[in-house]
Structures are given as structure tokens and as C-alpha cells.
């Protein structure tokens, strides 16, 4: 039976149940994010050991009370490495999205409001950007610039802003037709004021939601590049780098690679839940 065919009472109950679950997953998401942020900002207080210190008396020890996530082939404490890596991976999430967020939103708002030839040029640019597999073009740029985190940020920013712009343009194009924009025009407000004070705040929600997803995607990308040796460089503790370190010991010392992997999944789920939760709240307001 479809929702439309149900009597209103049941439908109401269902909606309440769904709303309750939406809130709950938002709170779980926020909790995960908070833990991640504490680890990222204060790793020295959270981590029990120095993430880079070798301990030749504790090589490849399985998880125990002294080392809850075990130790790696240099006797480094995996828990401490995973905690310190949170700082790098959160940095990746922020630095890969900061420029795309601001620049893309700005370009999208202007193109969406102005339309005309600007729109035609932008349309071609979007078509072209999605033709290049994202990972392939980022890898190619990193290959030319040289491996490392900074070059990865440059590569991701150079391509990533297009998606924000595309999203913003679509939303502004719809909002442009609305009465409040017409009212602002009648009042004689300038273009810049209409775009920044009126259109932008009304069209920003999808961008914020996409930003959350994008941060999760960039953590996946950053750890993948770290794994391939093109992102963060060892001995820096980064989730992908730690997994690469432990890859050859998977059948004898699974804990080296498994725990940082769980951290990546947690971060991804956390960002997605927060993004979905925000989207839900705004949808209900409308």
C-alpha cells in the first residue's frame, strides 16, 4: 500500500516516526563529528602515546589494554596514530572544500542571476569538467605538481568548485523568478545587494548539504591518495597512509589497517548524517 492510500491518522503517525528517526541520526552524526573534532584539535591530550615514537619492545603487538588498537611493525601505537591522523584528515576535509565552497558559490550565484552568454560558457565548462573522471584529473594534476598534501589541495580545488557553482546556479535560477527578488528590484537595490543579501541566503541550503557530502568524499579521496603515496607522505599519520603501512601485514597483523579504515568509515557516516539532518530540517521549514 502506498502512503497516499493510507488513512490520514496512520500517515501522521508514520511521519512522526520518521521525523524522530531523522533527529536521532542527526544527533549521532553530531556526536561523531564532535569526537573527531576533539581528536583533531587536542590529539596530544587524547592520544596515549607519541604517534611517531618507535618501540622495539612492542613490535606488531595485537590489541591489548596497553595498546587498544595494537602496535605496528615499528612498535608505534596504532590508536595514537589513528587519533593524530584525525587532524590531517579533518584538515583535508576543510582545505579541499574551502576554496570550492566560496568561489563556486560566488560564480554560481553570478552566473545564475546574469544568465546570457556567461551561462553558455559555464555550461560548456561543466560539461567538460564532468568528462574527466575526478580522481584521474586530480591524480594527473598531482602528478605534474608533485605528490604532497598542498598539491592535492590545489588539484581538488581547481576542479571541485565547478560542482558548487553548478548547484548554486540551478538554485539561483529558480529563486530569481520569485516575488522577493522582484520586490528588491522594484525597491531599486543594486545587483550585488540582491545577489548577496537576498538570493544567497535563500539558496544556500543545498550548498551546505553538498558541502558536508563533499567533505566526506574528500576524506575518501585524501586517504586514497595517501594510500597510493600521492597525498600525505609517511611517516605523517594519515588514515590512508597507515592503511598502506599495514597492508602487507594484513594476514598477520590485521589491526594496523583495520582500525584506520573504521575511522574513515565513521568520519564519512558522520558527515553524511549531519548533511542529511540539515537537509531534513530545512525541508520541513519550507
Amino acid at each position: 500500500m502506498t502512503a497516499a492510500a493510507l488513512p490520514p491518522g496512520i500517515l501522521g503517525q508514520r511521519r512522526i516516526r520518521r521525523m524522530g528517526r531523522g533527529r536521532k541520526s542527526l544527533y549521532i552524526g553530531i556526536a561523531i563529528m564532535l569526537v573527531m573534532l576533539v581528536c583533531a584539535f587536542f590529539p596530544e591530550f587524547v592520544a596515549p602515546y607519541d604517534p611517531l615514537a618507535f618501540d622495539y619492545n612492542a613490535i606488531m603487538h595485537p590489541p591489548s589494554l596497553a595498546h587498544p588498537f595494537g602496535t605496528d611493525n615499528f612498535g608505534r601505537d596504532v590508536l595514537s596514530r589513528v587519533i593524530w591522523a584525525t587532524r590531517i584528515d579533518m584538515q583535508i576535509a576543510i582545505f579541499c572544500t574551502l576554496f570550492p565552497l566560496f568561489f563556486g558559490t560566488l560564480v554560481g550565484a553570478i552566473v545564475g542571476y546574469r544568465s546570457g552568454w556567461l551561462e553558455a560558457v559555464f555550461g560548456r565548462l561543466v560539461d567538460l569538467t564532468i568528462t574527466f573522471p575526478f580522481l584521474v584529473i586530480v591524480i594527473a594534476i598531482v602528478a605534474v605538481l608533485g605528490p604532497g598534501l598542498l598539491n592535492m589541495y590545489i588539484a581538488v580545488s581547481a576542479v571541485g568548485w565547478v560542482f558548487y557553482a553548478q548547484l548554486m546556479r540551478a538554485d539561483v535560477q529558480v529563486q530569481r523568478q520569485s516575488e522577493y527578488v522582484a520586490a528588491a528590484k522594484v525597491l531599486g537595490y543594486g545587483e550585488a545587494r540582491i545577489i548577496f543579501r537576498h538570493l544567497l541566503p535563500n539558496a544556500i541550503t543545498p550548498i551546505i548539504v553538498y558541502w558536508m557530502t563533499d567533505m566526506a568524499l574528500d576524506i575518501l579521496l585524501g586517504s586514497s591518495l595517501g594510500y597510493l603515496g600521492l597525498g600525505a607522505q609517511p611517516p605523517t599519520a594519515e588514515w590512508g597512509v597507515i592503511i598502506a603501512d599495514g597492508k602487507n601485514f594484513m594476514s598477520t597483523a590485521w589491526w594496523i589497517s583495520v582500525f584506520p579504515g573504521i575511522a574513515i568509515v565513521l568520519a564519512g557516516v558522520g558527515f553524511s548524517l549531519v548533511g542529511d539532518g540539515i537537509a531534513d530540517i530545512f525541508r520541513r521549514r519550507r
Binding site: 567538460l128 574527466f132 584521474v136 605538481l145 594510500y227 594484513m250
Partner: protein
């Protein structure tokens, strides 16, 4: 689908090809980081640098270089690999089939996973089954490809020995067997994306009046679901599928590295380590052109599924 639409769509692809070439050229030739000194190291003598520049044509003006690049491309010449000393075209031709096989296999697996799961989740909306499927796929979406690969490799290949640890077979059956784990690895995140989209699509279509009408006509449930619900819900998913082929090819780069598969993805990573610029350039170009061709096919399939699209 009208012939008109086909012709327009085919004509649109030519400027895209041209722009792809401009971007790839700009990428390799204008970004800081000069291929020659990267190749020879900082202690290279001036003569050595000049010789390599001469060899690669890097001492000519940029526009001239681009014209040569275009001419060579249309003659099927993408230059020679610096490390492997063979032509880039022959390298790509020998490696590409492996990657295409892997991606196609993964795409099929992703659809086989996504369609029944989406059906189940949509028909049992908000039930425990729906919740479990959606949670599973949410985790799948948050898992990096290389991690899924390593876990599957350790468990099913190294521990249980059900599958080979890597490589590629010589017959079709062997290929399927060798590439099953890598393809499954690659299929995971795509199936999560497709599943979510298809589930929402099915739920939307189930509410449509023509579905009520089909039921009122007395059509059997299976017929309603197959012919009316799934076909209409699939239209949006086909577009999404096409858009994600690029992501799948990107994932192949990583999967091939994890499973030691001799495809173009692994070639790309090896070329980066070896600073083999002609190969990187050729591969980026080939993959982008491939993706734009997939977009073309996706559009045509969509127009076939929903003739209204072609009339727009």
C-alpha cells in the same frame, strides 16, 4: 529516438573532444613543474636538458607545440613512454581492454546488487529491512575503494583462498574468476549510489496515477512492477549510472593498484612514480574521451527509454 537527435548529439561531441585536448595539453605544458628537469633530476647538465627538450619538442613555442600535439593525436601518435621506451598508443591499446573488462564487470555487478535491493527497500519502505539495506549502503558509500579491496583480498583470497590474490587470466572464464573480487570492490560504492537513487525513484513512481490505473486494470503485481514501475524509475538511474562511469574508472585506478591488475589504472600510477609524462598525458586524454563517449551512449539510451527527452 529520431535520427535528428542522434546527429545533434554526435555533433556536440566534437567540441568536447577539442576542449579535452586543450585541457590535457595545458595541464602538462603550462603547470609549474617542468617535465625535463623532473625527468633528469636537479643535477642535469644543460646539454642533457636541451637534448630531451629537443626530443620531446618542448623548445618550440607553445601554440606550435599544441598544433603538433593535435596533428599527432589524429595520427594516433601519443608520443613515446620515457620509462618503457614504447609508444604510448601501443601501451594503452594493450592495457585498456583489461580496465574496460574490469569496469564493465563492476558495472554489471553493481546493477545486480542495486536493483533487487532497491526494489526490496522501496516496497518495504520504513521497515527493518529497508533500514538495514540503507544502513549497509551508507557504510558502503563511506568506505574507500582501496580499503574494501584490502579487506576482501585478505579475507576471501589470502585467508579462505577462494579467489586468486591478483593478476589477470588468459581465458574468459579465468578472467571472470580473477577479476571477481576487484570488480566487487569497485561495484560497491556505485551500487550504493544507484540503490539510493532507484529506491527513491520507485517510491515516487509507486505514487503515480498510472500505477494505480495499471493495478485497477487488474494487471498482476509482477507485471505492474516490472513494466510500469521499474522502467520509469530506471530512467533517472540510467543517467546517474552514466555520470558515475567516470567515478568507476577513477576507482579502477585504485583497484588495479590494490589487486596488481595490469590495466591502464595501474599504468597511470606507475607512470606517476616514474614521472612518465607522455603516458600520463595519453591516459588522461584517453579516459576523458572514453567518458564523453559513455555520456553519449547514456543520452541515447535515455532517449530510447523516454522518447520525450529527444524532443526537448
Amino acid at each position: 529516438m529520431s535520427l535528428n537527435y542522434l546527429v545533434i548529439r554526435l555533433a556536440q561531441i566534437l567540441p568536447t573532444f577539442f576542449l579535452i585536448m586543450v585541457i590535457v595539453f595545458v595541464l602538462v605544458h603550462l603547470l609549474p613543474g617542468d617535465p625535463t628537469s623532473a625527468l633528469l633530476g636537479i643535477r642535469a647538465t644543460d646539454e642533457a636538458v636541451n637534448r630531451i627538450n629537443e626530443q620531446l619538442g618542448l623548445n618550440r613555442p607553445i601554440p606550435v607545440q599544441f598544433l603538433f600535439f593535435l596533428r599527432n593525436f589524429f595520427q594516433g601518435d601519443l608520443g613515446d613512454s620515457i620509462v618503457l621506451k614504447v609508444s604510448v598508443t601501443s601501451l594503452i591499446i594493450s592495457r585498456l581492454p583489461v580496465t574496460l573488462f574490469l569496469t564493465a564487470f563492476a558495472a554489471i555487478l553493481a546493477v545486480l546488487l542495486a536493483v533487487p535491493m532497491a526494489m526490496l527497500a522501496a516496497l518495504r519502505r520504513d521497515s527493518a529491512v529497508d533500514g538495514a539495506i540503507r544502513t549497509g549502503f551508507q557504510i558502503g558509500l563511506s568506505m574507500p575503494v582501496f580499503y574494501i579491496g584490502i579487506v576482501l583480498l585478505t579475507f576471501f583470497a589470502a585467508r579462505l583462498r577462494w579467489f586468486p590474490v591478483g593478476g589477470f587470466g588468459t581465458t574468459f572464464g579465468e578472467d571472470l574468476y580473477h577479476l571477481f573480487l576487484p570488480a566487487l570492490t569497485l561495484a560497491f560504492s556505485l551500487s550504493a549510489v544507484l540503490m539510493r537513487n532507484l529506491r527513491n525513484g520507485i517510491i515516487e513512481v509507486l505514487n503515480a496515477e498510472y500505477v494505480d490505473f495499471a493495478r485497477a486494470k487488474g494487471l498482476r503485481n509482477r507485471l505492474v512492477l516490472g513494466r510500469h514501475v521499474l522502467r520509469n524509475a530506471l530512467i533517472a538511474t540510467v543517467a546517474l549510472f552514466g555520470l558515475n562511469i567516470g567515478t568507476l574508472l577513477g576507482g579502477a585506478v585504485i583497484t588495479e593498484s590494490v589487486f596488481a591488475i595490469p590495466g591502464v589504472g595501474r599504468l597511470m600510477i606507475d607512470s606517476i612514480y616514474g614521472r612518465d609524462y607522455p603516458v600520463i598525458q595519453g591516459l588522461t586524454l584517453t579516459l576523458a574521451i572514453l567518458v564523453s563517449l559513455v555520456f553519449l551512449v547514456t543520452d541515447l539510451v535515455q532517449a530510447f527509454l523516454d522518447p520525450r527527452i529527444a524532443r526537448r
